[in-house]
């Protein structure tokens, strides 16, 4: 009796799914994936030289990320309980990941000095990435739309510049200006090879800035482009059957984007820790 009921529901479900193929599609509307990434100024401000200071969508998202982090930090630190609530446990897990997983496992010296920056970068990039998965009313005509601040090359370039400047600042402060750069060519190598190694090391240090920023930027940009394509594919196919199938695909790719948000924040933080730690202990 029970197996007959299950079979009946299955047949009904399959018939309903097949019937979806015959319902005529709705009106086609315009959707372009690239318009999510165009920045229109919300408040026009004058530009200083080549730098345009107007408030755009990206600036507002950065403010929201900073405000969210400050509020969460204040609320959790004021209401600490010995038996943690679920929210406190989640924040403590992330803090433990930043402390032991990132700074503790990678940096040999300077852990206490540089933990605030590394943890700050980790939490800020994580919050910005996750905010990009919540629709907020900053799209055209105040509609709800997705946008991640870290999908903007200037934002990730600014974050990578912080790591870059702190790396060389830490190395120069510890070893002195000339010795830091001279350590880039190991003294235990023949003289001609030393110049070559110095040049190659200098180029690779400069490329770290590019790779750190472009990695985060391209991951977030590609993720949002794929999300946009999946959400809009139902409009292109103009049939409810395709829309039903694509609904599940959209959910799966959205879950994958949450995973990518965590991974990219973790990678940014741990690579920053590796670079700063490498500048602090140069002999190895």
């Amino acid at each position: 009796m029970k197996r007959g009921l299950v079979a009946a529901w299955l047949v009904l479900g399959l018939v309903a799914l097949a019937a979806l193929a015959f319902i005529p599609g709705g009106h086609k509307t315009e959707f372009s994936v690239a318009e999510e990434f165009e920045l229109q100024p919300l408040i026009e401000l004058p530009s200083i030289g080549p730098v345009d200071l107007s408030i755009t969508k990206a600036v507002v998202y950065l403010w929201i990320a900073a405000a969210a982090l400050i509020v969460i930090a204040i609320v959790v630190s004021r209401t600490l309980k010995p038996i943690p609530s679920r929210f406190q446990y989640a924040v403590e897990t992330l803090y433990g990941l930043a402390r032991e997983g990132i700074v503790g496992s990678v940096m040999k010296s300077g852990q206490a000095t540089w933990f605030p920056y590394i943890a700050g970068a980790f939490f800020f990039v994580l919050t910005s990435n996750l905010l990009g998965l919540i629709p907020l009313p900053f799209a055209e005509h105040h509609q709800f739309g997705f946008y991640a601040a870290t999908a903007n090359l200037y934002v990730t370039l600014a974050l990578a510049l912080c790591t870059f400047l702190f790396t060389h600042y830490a190395g120069i402060r510890k070893n002195g200006f000339v010795r830091y750069f001279r350590n880039w060519a190991p003294p235990s190598a023949p003289p001609v090879l030393r110049q070559l190694i110095l040049v190659i090391h200098a180029v690779s240090e400069a490329f770290r800035l590019v790779s750190l920023s472009v990695r985060l930027f391209a991951n977030m940009l590609a993720g949002h482009a794929i999300l946009g394509v999946f959400f809009a594919m139902a409009l292109i196919f103009q049939s409810y059957l395709a829309a039903a199938a694509l609904q599940m695909g959209s959910v799966l790719i959205y879950l994958f984007e949450i995973f990518v948000a965590f991974i990219q924040a973790f990678i940014f933080a741990i690579l920053s820790a590796v670079y700063i730690g490498g500048a602090l202990d140069q002999e190895h």
Partner: protein, 76 residues
């Protein structure tokens, strides 16, 4: 062929060829990580952390090709 078609073709080739290397690299990296976890399950946390770092760095190379493809389509 006019310039517009060449740019689109170049974008397609860039992304296609540019993801061969990272795909092979990722496969090798993750298979080595799985082998080491099977050999020593007690350090699997450490291995997993380093595997994710390796995945991030390797995937970035594919994303460089993606950025070049985007530049070719939208900016050039």
């Amino acid at each position: 062929m006019d310039a517009e078609a060449t740019k689109l073709l170049a974008a397609g080739i860039s992304m296609g060829v540019g993801s061969l290397g990272p795909a092979l690299g990722l496969g090798m990296l993750i298979s080595k990580a799985l082998e080491s976890i099977a050999r020593q399950p007690e350090v699997s946390g450490d291995i997993r952390t380093n595997m994710f770092i390796g995945i991030g760095v390797t995937e970035a190379v594919a994303l460089y090709a993606f950025v070049i493809a985007l530049i070719l389509i939208f900016v050039a």
